[in-house]
Symmetry: C2
Subunit: 244 residues, 2 copies
């Protein structure tokens, strides 16, 4: 397994939240969980059920008595919290933290991310134990987040840094985007079928009509498979036309 940050829940209250955290972690490819003095049992049926199949993370979770012990072997610790205003501290948004953590891990630095108890969040002393603060940008009018959702959002940002996939692409179902020659041939075929159209016969209107038609299809990145569909439809329509 590549080096990855440890997720540390400080005094989590509910077994369900620990289970949902494990699920969120697995969603994001994070596998190392530490728990500081959890109130409920993280291996209870409730926790395992809430983990939706991510119970291996719960089973491998390590329990500590204090935050200080839980971070003792780490070299860089991040505190997820909105409350740090009275401390002089580097603050990352979740995306920036994910980049920083990824870079640190690549350099072999052992990283951990702290998440506080459900109701109160991390206390000042736990924030002071950490090297930087992580803030999740959310609507300030309604930013209360379930513990596992906070883990999900930070984990999601981390996961995005681990993958190298295009931001956007045309899913072509195995067919190819038509090259210009194929497209121009199709345009000619279509125009051929339009010989009897009134607008097409009008020398003034024809160029504009043709450009419009070209633009409709050129905005779509038509594939060769789709061109065949279009050929079939136009043939069908013009056959019907001739039969009239």
């Amino acid at each position: 397994m590549q080096i990855q940050p440890v997720v540390i829940l400080v005094q989590p209250q509910l077994a369900e939240n620990m289970g949902m955290t494990a699920r969120a972690m697995m969603n994001c490819g994070l596998y190392q969980l530490r728990l500081v003095s959890p109130r409920e049992n993280h291996l209870s049926d409730k926790a395992v059920s809430a983990s939706s199949g991510a119970d291996e993370i719960l089973q491998n979770a390590v329990v500590y008595a204090s935050t200080q012990e839980a971070v003792a072997d780490l070299q860089q610790v991040y505190a997820t919290t909105a409350r740090h205003r009275d401390q002089i501290k580097v603050v990352h948004n979740a995306a920036s933290a994910a980049k920083d953590i990824t870079r640190q891990c690549q350099n072999g630095v052992k990283c951990g991310i702290l998440f506080g108890p459900e109701r109160t969040g991390l206390n000042n002393d736990d924030v002071a134990l950490s090297d930087a603060v992580v803030e999740i940008p959310l609507n300030p009018k309604h930013c209360s987040l379930n513990l596992s959702q906070a883990v999900l959002l930070v984990g999601y940002e981390w996961y995005k840094q681990q993958i190298d996939t295009p931001d956007t692409y045309l899913s072509t179902n195995g067919t190819e985007i038509a090259d210009k020659e194929k497209l121009f041939n199709f345009f000619e075929f279509m125009e051929d079928k339009l010989q009897n159209n009134k607008n097409y016969q009008d020398d003034e209107k024809r160029p504009r009509m043709i450009r419009n038609l070209h633009n409709i299809f050129q905005r779509s990145q038509i594939t060769t498979q789709e061109l065949n569909t279009l050929y079939g439809i136009i043939n069908h329509l013009s056959d019907n036309l001739q039969k009239k």
Copy 2:
């Protein structure tokens, strides 16, 4: 309210998930919810309780009988789904979709984002009704996501596009980062207190020791408040030294 995309849940099953979706939407500053044939009542106590204070979104939600009706007044529709492989379709990851939706909204285009039923996701016909697909990048070994978490992640990406805050900064609690002159004065003060130190007296070792000390403090972006703390500590230590 600025123009923003509509969130459309297609045949959601559980009231709890509709409530949690409302909560996730409000977390992300999204307020317009549409429901296509919900199985349970989106205004039930269960739904309202799960919304954690975002019940205004549930109360304002509009219910439709079909996806087609729910998107009829929209101009650009996005389908959140992992299953689109057999369709020729533009695919965005969540961040790219958020950018695209934001740009469309800025251009006055009415946008909607479809989310499918809990167990099955959107069916092919609903995907075909949409202009583009949104994929949430997640660990392929465990990508099952609660409905409200899918809404949260897409909404979070959308919210990030609406804000203009720095990725990272030093939270200084009202104090200023010390300018170099203040820092150099502090270094001189510190060196003055080190006159009796053995390494400092060694002409060969001194330059290196001084550079090390400078680097420790220069990596930290010390603030003027922190400099005062350091002055106080060094004074205290050197006083104690003299008393010995």
